[in-house]
């Protein structure tokens, strides 16, 4: 499904981001191709979320973050290329939400508590696509159906607090996909959800990739999620890319010791079959 003969949709090259004297992202490079699901995996503070926020043009807004160097080349639907690292805020705004959109870990804090969810999705459509109220409401309903929200006509009149975490995340996905983006960035989209709901959302994201063709960049700390959804993996540690490769290679033939030690500490369901007593993790010391 991944088309590597095409130009990448998004090409991050030697990206460096600092917060004051602290370097959060250091010379990070990777490509995202049409139809690809790329997982960026790492532990707390590895720089994975800052990388995502830099692509969205959000790192320099309201914080002391600064893109110090590198390029974020994004191929626009008309075929032209824009460097989001050096673009003006006005240019970034045409891309953000329209062509690249993002969903976050905690849908409740991402939604406005005093507006109905249908209103909020319709508002996004009105702002980004310039549709009128009626057309935007119809589009919102269509998106609710796309993300399999049961009873969409009723549900769109609900407020965020009336919905479960899983339903709220579906609303966020509906909003993110409402403008037909070519890239969807999902930052820990299932981390706050229960495991049965997580399975539903991951399944939905997999189906939507086929239906919409959007490339997905998923930021996660969970190697189980990576194994379930990713085509390719970027492993980050301490602001740098440690290793990049196809998901099978990363799991079965990790080249770097950091990746090996990370995988050694991941509990794998089923690994204890046939044993009665608990077992310690065989940890690999990092050099």
């Amino acid at each position: 499904m991944v088309d590597r003969n095409e130009e990448p949709l998004l090409s991050v090259r030697e990206l460096t981001v600092t917060f004051g004297s602290f370097t959060a992202v250091e010379r990070v490079s990777f490509d995202l191709f049409p139809g690809q699901t790329l997982a960026v995996v790492g532990e707390s503070g590895s720089g994975k979320s800052v990388t995502a926020l830099s692509i969205m043009g959000l790192v320099e807004i309201g914080s002391r973050g600064r893109i110090e160097g590198g390029e974020i080349l994004f191929r626009m639907p008309d075929g032209s290329t824009i460097d989001l690292a050096s673009a003006t805020e006005r240019e970034r705004r045409t891309v953000r939400g329209n062509h690249i959109s993002m969903i976050f870990q905690e849908p409740l804090t991402s939604l406005n508590p005093v507006y109905t969810v249908g209103n909020q999705v319709a508002e996004a459509v009105m702002v980004h696509q310039g549709l009128g109220k009626r057309a935007a409401t119809d589009r919102a309903l269509e998106m609710f159906r796309l993300v399999r929200i049961p009873d969409p006509e009723q549900r769109q009149r609900q407020f965020p607090h009336e919905m479960s975490g899983g339903m709220r995340q579906r609303v966020m996905i509906a909003m993110a996909l409402s403008c037909d983006p070519t890239v969807l960035i999902a930052d820990e989209p299932t981390t706050a959800l229960d495991v049965t709901i997580q399975a539903q959302i991951l399944g939905l994201m997999r189906d939507l990739r086929t239906e919409t063709g959007a490339a997905v960049m998923i930021i996660t700390h969970d190697m189980g999620v990576v194994a379930e959804v990713a085509d390719d993996v970027v492993v980050m540690n301490r602001a740098k890319v440690v290793e990049t490769g196809p998901v099978i290679d990363i799991f079965e033939r990790p080249a770097e010791s950091y990746t090996r030690s990370l995988l050694a500490s991941v509990p794998r369901l089923g690994s204890m079959a046939g044993r009665a007593d608990p077992a310690r993790f065989e940890l690999i010391e990092e050099p």
Partner: protein, 313 residues
């Protein structure tokens, strides 16, 4: 028919009297004109040196169960027997000698430590409260040895919580829990907030401490992969009730209840070759909120194989 408390069947405690014996424990919280049946007729035992994991999703009542067992909240009904003593209704004073036998470690080690107090004082506090030691060289020595035991540098007792990483803070909380040489440690999502590499280290530490000190763990968790690793026995909770209880290998390799199966099926497996094309599940857990006059139906557990109990569906 009343269900008997299923007996302990893990690696330990099969013959000796169990450390903890919980019978038909209930907790109902009033909410406005309705009520939440957080824990419904839960019966279980925990053997000495054994780890019993309680798994379930948000709102299933697992944390309420943990808090009931260490008597942080009062039960609506049922009985808790700790080391042969019925502690269900003991008042604060009468409970105090028993409290030291049971300790709890919470999910967020930062919220569990006073930001303005050196961490050594947090670990010393239970010793002072229970009159085990007085301030001075002896207390300092005991705190230092607790730091060493959990893999921390004993020279760091004067530092403050913010100077430690999340994993180190959780080690401090474990040191504090161990100060009074408890027999029962309740770990309520104690490793859930930690990065995987740190989580693995803290789990290994907990297993070492179990071997050295003969601790019993009540391990509350939503993470089935972690639970599979650490537990001798497993209880699966759903809407306040235990729906399946048994040796870990039985519950994980031969799950009987539909909810257990569903839970196990949903866990992402860290092996891309085992990627499954799952049908899109829908449906969510029903609300545990009940009208004042409504009562949830009580489930009956039956023993399907030795020590493996399953609720009727």
């Amino acid at each position: 028919m009343t269900t008997a408390a299923p007996a302990s069947g893990g690696a330990a405690g099969a013959t000796a009297t169990p450390l903890v014996e919980v019978t038909e424990l209930r907790k109902v919280f009033p909410v406005g004109r309705a009520k939440v049946h957080a824990v419904e007729y839960v019966s279980l035992t925990l053997g000495r040196g054994e780890t019993l994991a309680v798994v379930g999703e948000s709102g299933c009542g697992k944390s309420t169960l943990a808090q009931l067992i260490v008597r942080l909240i009062d039960p609506t009904g049922g009985r808790i027997v700790l080391d042969g003593v019925d502690v269900t209704t003991l008042g604060p004073r009468a409970l105090r000698p028993h409290r030291r036998k049971m300790q709890i470690v919470f999910q967020d080690p930062f919220a569990s430590l006073d930001p303005r107090r050196p961490v050594g004082r947090a670990v010393a506090e239970p010793l002072l409260v229970h009159g085990e030691a007085r301030k001075g060289a002896e207390l300092d020595e005991r705190v230092a040895s607790l730091f060493t035991r959990v893999g921390l540098d004993p020279d760091h007792t004067r530092q403050f919580p913010h100077q430690f990483s999340g994993g180190q803070r959780q080690r401090i909380c474990i040191a504090r829990a161990l100060a009074l040489q408890p027999e029962l440690v309740v770990a309520d999502e104690a490793v859930s907030a930690l990065d995987v590499s740190i989580q693995a280290q803290v789990i290994n530490l907990m297993m070492d401490l179990q071997d050295e000190l003969g601790l019993s763990y009540l391990f509350i968790s939503h993470d089935l992969a972690v639970v599979e690793r650490v537990s001798h026995r497993v209880a699966v909770m759903y809407l306040g009730q235990i729906v399946e209880l048994g040796p870990r290998s039985a519950v994980f390799e031969n799950p009987q209840h539909s909810y257990t199966k569903r839970l196990l099926d949903a866990v992402p497996i860290a092996d891309p070759r085992l990627r499954r094309d799952r049908p899109l599940l829908t449906g969510e857990i029903p609300s545990p909120v009940w009208g004042v006059d409504d009562e949830p139906e009580r489930v009956e557990l039956t023993e399907v194989e030795p020590s493996h109990f399953v609720a009727a569906e």
